[in-house]
């Protein structure tokens, strides 16, 4: 992993867990010793997701491209706004992780990043939580992911907040895996917080690797 540059974008349904998965991925990559840049590509609600966590994440060694409170004047409903460094994120050394705004419109904002079409290992990963009514069944997930545009992998991020159990995650793993088979898209990982991941083990019931998540987002605004 040391020599390979990883460039990943996390896309998906509103509140599917994109930011949480992206943050944890960036921190995981930072542990390889190479520089990591985490980019907030949410143009509609840019100052509410990564911004409250920016300092904390930077202290853990990752470079965060996100708005800060003092810069954030008239964001959100006054119009879409792109931070000036963001289109040039791929000029930075090391791994780059994009946290993309929600839904189909959000996925399209990746076009704004310079050189994204020339990254050989660029991967768009769709984050799915089957406890969310819009992506609860195999059919729902298939329809939804098809609408997102190009997707290279699926992440099973099924959970119920503090009520999450291994069973809930495993049921999600089955649904996402079946959706992946129908879509012809591989499942890259299942995610779970440490207590739940310990019950599941290193792989889920579909033999996908389990990424252990630490929850940062409860400290964000939304």
């Amino acid at each position: 992993m040391k020599d390979i540059r990883i460039v990943e974008a996390y896309v998906g349904e509103y509140a599917s867990g994109k930011s949480e998965v992206a943050i944890n991925r960036a921190l995981e990559l930072a542990r390889t010793g190479r520089p990591v840049t985490l980019v907030d590509l949410d143009l509609v609600e840019p100052c509410y997701t990564l911004r409250p966590l920016k300092k904390e994440l930077e202290e853990q060694g990752i470079n965060v491209l996100a708005w800060e409170t003092r810069d954030a004047v008239g964001l959100g409903e006054t119009g879409n706004i792109l931070r000036a460094e963001v289109p040039w994120a791929l000029r930075r050394p090391g791994h780059v992780v994009f946290d993309v705004g929600y839904g189909v419109g959000g996925a399209r904002t990746l076009d704004l990043v310079e050189g994204i079409d020339q990254e050989p290992l660029f991967r768009i990963l769709a984050v799915v939580n089957t406890s969310r009514p819009m992506t609860m069944t195999v059919e729902n997930v298939v329809d939804y992911v098809r609408n997102l545009g190009p997707v290279h992998g699926l992440i099973n991020n099924t959970h119920l907040g503090d009520e999450t159990t291994a069973d809930i995650v495993q049921q999600g793993a089955q649904t996402v895996a079946e959706a992946g088979r129908r879509l012809g898209i591989p499942v890259v990982a299942t995610t779970a917080v440490a207590e739940v991941a310990a019950v599941i083990g290193p792989v889920d019931c579909e033999n996908n690797p389990v990424r252990v998540l630490k929850r940062y987002m409860p400290r964000a605004f939304w």
């Binding site: 509103y14 509140a15 959100g76 406890s131 009514p133 819009m134 609860m136 119920l160 605004f221 939304w222």
Partner: protein, 366 residues
């Protein structure tokens, strides 16, 4: 396809705005009218995503004045109609809602409070309490449910339509930006499967028969030419509102029998208050909790009873005394000291409430 998006009872993980949209479908609402405004946008987003599958309608209007009046139009045509807004949109909606009050129209309005003024934060506050309970040039003849959890957002959205069509007063579901955007588990269900009756809407206009021959002509007035005329109509509304008051009022309380301190809060702040009270009671302190669920009508009798059994009470809110205005009005004549904990525009944590409570009780501060 009619029915509900998810059959049976299902534990799900949702944002508050989504919950409202799903609950409106489950309540068999027919149409939403709306204009985009943060933090309620996803009520519209999810309603419009669900609408085609469940034979629902949506109209985006040019502003919130229009959204309010078109909701009235939908109701008069016999549709279960609703709208959702926040902050400045809530200000504009007071005009149509004042009319709905006088015309006794069962409109349902969902409010996700944000910080004022109109161009200020889109995030959170409890600053729309007075606006939502008594806004408009009228007498506040409306029903306002203040929710605290996603489960309540679901339950009370369904209930709001029933309350509106049963009593024919406008019904507001008052939440806030935190509830709108935060995520937590809840159980969604089909109210019909649970045996909850859903009151059918009926048309005000366009009924069968010749007006004046087969039936009395409909005459739905929003115009009163003289003061006496308005007075007379209002007297009818006063009597009806007071008649239903105790049927409609709702509250939640904990340990209010005999307390040194009673903590009063509503909405999402009530969650922090309840948690603080449970903790402090665990420490052996005599602390009680009272939460009006209906801010209008205020559960006056229960509130007076709880306050009459405490040495003093603390009103906690994310506003500078809006809930406390309503509370003090309800408590007129009771000589009990009030301590404010006002945090206008920001959230309140259980730790803050506990710290202030300990100061008041243990150290005897004022």
């Amino acid at each position: 396809m009619a029915g509900v998006p998810v059959p049976g009872d299902k534990r799900v993980f949702m944002t508050g705005n989504e919950v409202v949209a799903y609950a409106a479908v489950a309540a068999r609402a027919d149409i939403m009218y709306g204009y985009p405004i943060t933090p309620q946008n996803e009520v519209m987003h999810y309603w419009t995503r669900l609408a085609p599958k469940y034979e629902k309608r949506f109209l985006q209007t040019e502003d919130e004045l229009s959204a309010g009046f078109t909701t009235i139009g939908g109701v008069m045509a016999g549709r279960k109609a609703f709208t959702a807004t926040a902050g400045p949109g809530n200000v504009l909606m007071q005009e149509p809602m004042a009319m709905a009050e006088m015309m006794r129209l069962p409109v349902v309005v969902v409010i996700m409070q944000r910080g004022g003024p109109s161009t200020a934060t889109v995030i959170y506050s409890q600053q729309e309490v007075i606006l939502t309970t008594f806004g408009g040039n009228g007498e506040g003849f409306r029903i306002v449910y203040s929710t605290a959890t996603h489960q309540e957002l679901y339950d009370y959205t369904i209930k709001a339509f029933n309350t509106a069509w049963r009593y024919r007063f406008p019904v507001f579901l008052l939440a806030d930006g935190y509830q709108a955007k935060m995520r937590e588990p809840l159980t969604i269900y089909d109210p019909l499967e649970r045996g909850i009756e859903l009151i059918a809407p009926e048309a005000y206009l366009g009924r069968p028969g010749t007006p004046g021959v087969d039936r009395p002509p409909g005459h739905f007035r929003n115009t009163y030419s003289t003061e006496e005329e308005l007075y007379e109509v209002l007297q009818g509304h006063v009597r009806e509102y007071e008649r239903i008051w105790r049927e409609v009022e709702e509250y939640e309380s904990l340990g209010t029998e005999d307390t040194d301190l009673l903590i009063i809060a509503h909405g999402v702040v009530a969650r922090a208050a309840k948690q603080a009270v449970e903790y402090l009671r665990g420490e052996g302190l005599k602390v009680g909790y009272f939460r009006p669920v209906t801010l209008r009508p205020m559960p006056v009798d229960a509130l007076r009873e709880a306050v009459s059994r405490t040495k003093r009470f603390m009103v906690v809110e994310s506003a500078y005394g809006q809930l406390s205005k309503l509370v003090r009005d309800a408590l007129y004549g009771l000589a009990v000291e009030m301590v404010p904990l006002y945090k206008p525009g920001v959230g309140v944590t259980p730790e803050e409430i506990m710290a202030r409570s300990r100061e008041l009780i243990v150290k005897g501060e004022s």
